[in-house]
Symmetry: C2
Subunit: 398 residues, 2 copies
């Protein structure tokens, strides 16, 4: 049965008068989330207290919700677990991969990767000592840069700035041919497009839940380890909940079974309650349909902006195969233009130095939203109404 | 003005018929927390969406709430920041300290430390390579084990199992005399007793908020760095929100100013909303009073159990100077006894192999609670009513 996008839209709380094209940064709230949270607080925490760990299933939740996300990214049950932040999960995956490929000393990434991934890699190299190195090439040079020095590739499938999509299957295949492991950052993929971790034979994957999966600000990250590595991967961040028997309180660490070892500390139970409500919307949704619908909305936007606001330069590839769920344009005054647009009720965001980003998330964005967003953006460009001091003042968070 | 403990008790939601002596594991909910959370979800997230980072102050919250916790642990404003889990913060503090003391290769801890601290240290040593070593001695041998090989001490001030308290001032002084740095885990100290990080000249401290600070299951951890180290400490977990300019999206990491560099990824905004409500209770509370009141309640409990259930062997030191906010007893059938007690409405917890733990948290535990807890525990011991199969079956989480 095809996904009824009008029906999914009705499940979200969207502020009156706002067209929200920034679900690629922070997804909106599903209407059921406050009640689910109230239950977690007043029914579970307040009433069960410490007993909630067993009786409300808090301890199992990182794996239970991990499986529900797993369905959206082509991961088998028992291969995904929630916790921490994406940066922490990048560190864990990288440290594991480097230990599994000990003769190689190079982490390969690209300049389009999200900076925190690069910073975490840099921090790990520093901790590991002088012989390790992070090598960063242009996105289009990743394939040719995979040589026999590379221990692991660390690539974000969809570029946070340009929206350019890497070919996960090809890169993974090339990496394996050259003896390298792969880590895929799915921050802009999970909930945006079909991901097939099993089919592409990806080794590790990490992602966040507060963008397309709508878990709310600061929702937990997730990590995937391919089943063939599950008993080999050794997390550098070896916390007690990743121990084989956390409640034995042994003095020495023994990694837990499979993906469980990637857990670190106490899971964020309240954030997970919001995520649980958000995931209900995804049950029965087909990722291919979501992506095709997003591409259709993107095409409408690209075409209309090309005609009506041609001074905005498209930064996203035109090929459907090279796109995620986001369209970006460049303009030297991108920051002020985006602020003017937000003042008109269309929320996208800006990424330094000159990128305007627009996310097209079909679960709650429809054709009419796209048409209205185009109208308001074209008007701002026609009248130059972005050229005001109040739109140029940079906020703490852009 | 002395703290009115009857008044603070009325601020907590405590389930009908339950005496809760496990605030040392998971604190109860303050009554205002659900409304604060509803505001974070329905007023901030749902309505402001991505704009919440600026307009609702989400980005600043880890430092703002850090300062409020700072007051309770003798830390100056701008020296504490929230985020991640305690295990992650241990790793960050350890990695920083080892880099600051490069000629030394030994981390000194004790067998009474919480295992996750030891596991994280073990994982870090493994990542750092063969020359680093975690040395673990008995709690009472820590002082004499601080020699000129020790790079850093990693000590939990109050032993999670026995409730034995280390002398933070003496150990820190000894460590500094021997050229070592100190990391204090305040998991069982923050909100339990007066801590003076500034006065004792502690170098680093870490702690969690879901125990005595009542932030709810999975609430964020905190980290303190002494001002004299703030611009030197280099976090191994160098995430984007610890960058000097996160929204510049530079490719290379530059540590942020002072404590800000200890931030890693996106903060857990919803968990922080619950913490914010919980911290309101602490404003105006004096930690010395809280600890004295706790010791008074503990003394009542110890004395009465000594008379009425002498087969329970006290595991906590009798000296007030060596106690936190918890009293522990040993019994070979401790697990079953605790389950029987919980069935009678008195919630404490069990720690393998044989420890029954009871937390005395004066903000919501009073003399009458202690008397009733004694009565029910004595009755269970008198009648041997713990000796039933249903009390011996171990749950996932103990």
């Amino acid at each position: 049965m095809p996904t009824d996008f009008a029906a999914t839209k009705s499940l979200f709380h969207l502020p009156e008068g706002v067209i929200y094209l920034d679900g690629n940064s922070l997804g909106p709230m599903v209407k059921t989330a406050p009640a689910r949270m109230a239950r977690a607080m007043e029914g579970e925490w307040a009433e069960l207290l410490i007993r909630g760990w067993n009786k409300a299933g808090w301890m199992a939740q990182p794996a239970v919700l991990g499986d529900r996300i797993g369905r959206l990214i082509g991961a088998a049950p028992g291969t995904v677990v929630l916790g921490d932040t994406l940066s922490i999960k990048v560190y864990q995956a990288l440290a594991s991969a480097l230990e599994m490929n000990p003769k190689r000393k190079v982490i390969l990434s690209d300049t389009g990767n999200f900076p925190s991934d690069l910073y975490m890699a840099e921090g790990l190299c520093r901790t590991l000592g002088g012989q390790y190195r992070l090598k960063t090439v242009a996105p289009e040079e990743v394939m040719s840069a995979i040589d026999d020095t590379v221990a692991v590739t660390l690539i974000t499938e969809v570029d946070y700035r340009t929206g350019r999509r890497h070919h996960m299957g090809d890169i993974t295949k090339r990496a394996h041919e050259m003896g390298a492991l792969t880590i895929w950052d799915l921050a802009h993929s999970a909930g945006a497009l079909p991901v097939d971790l099993t089919g592409t034979k990806a080794d590790f994957a990490v992602g966040c839940t507060y963008k397309y999966l709508n878990s709310g600000p600061g929702g937990p990250a997730f990590i995937y380890v391919a089943p063939r590595h599950a008993e080999t991967a050794r997390p550098a961040l070896s916390g007690w909940l990743g121990h084989e028997a956390p409640f034995a309180f042994d003095l020495a660490y023994r990694p837990g079974r499979g993906i469980e070892r990637m857990r670190v500390g106490t899971p964020p139970v309240l954030q997970m309650a919001a995520l649980e409500a958000a995931l209900d919307v995804w049950d029965g949704v087909d990722m291919t349909e979501v992506h095709l619908q997003s591409l259709r909305l993107q095409d409408q936007f690209i075409k209309a902006i090309g005609t009506r606001a041609p001074m905005l330069q498209l930064a996203t590839p035109r090929s459907h195969l090279m796109r995620g769920s986001q369209v970006s344009f460049r303009h030297p005054e991108g920051y002020a233009i985006m602020q003017a647009l937000i003042a008109e009720g269309v929320i996208g965001d800006f990424r330094a130095p000159d990128i305007l980003r627009f996310g097209f998330t079909p679960l709650y964005i429809d054709d009419d939203d796209v048409a209205q967003a185009v109208n308001r953006l074209a008007k701002i460009m026609d009248y130059g109404s972005w050229d005001k001091p109040e739109f140029k003042q940079r906020a703490l968070v852009t």
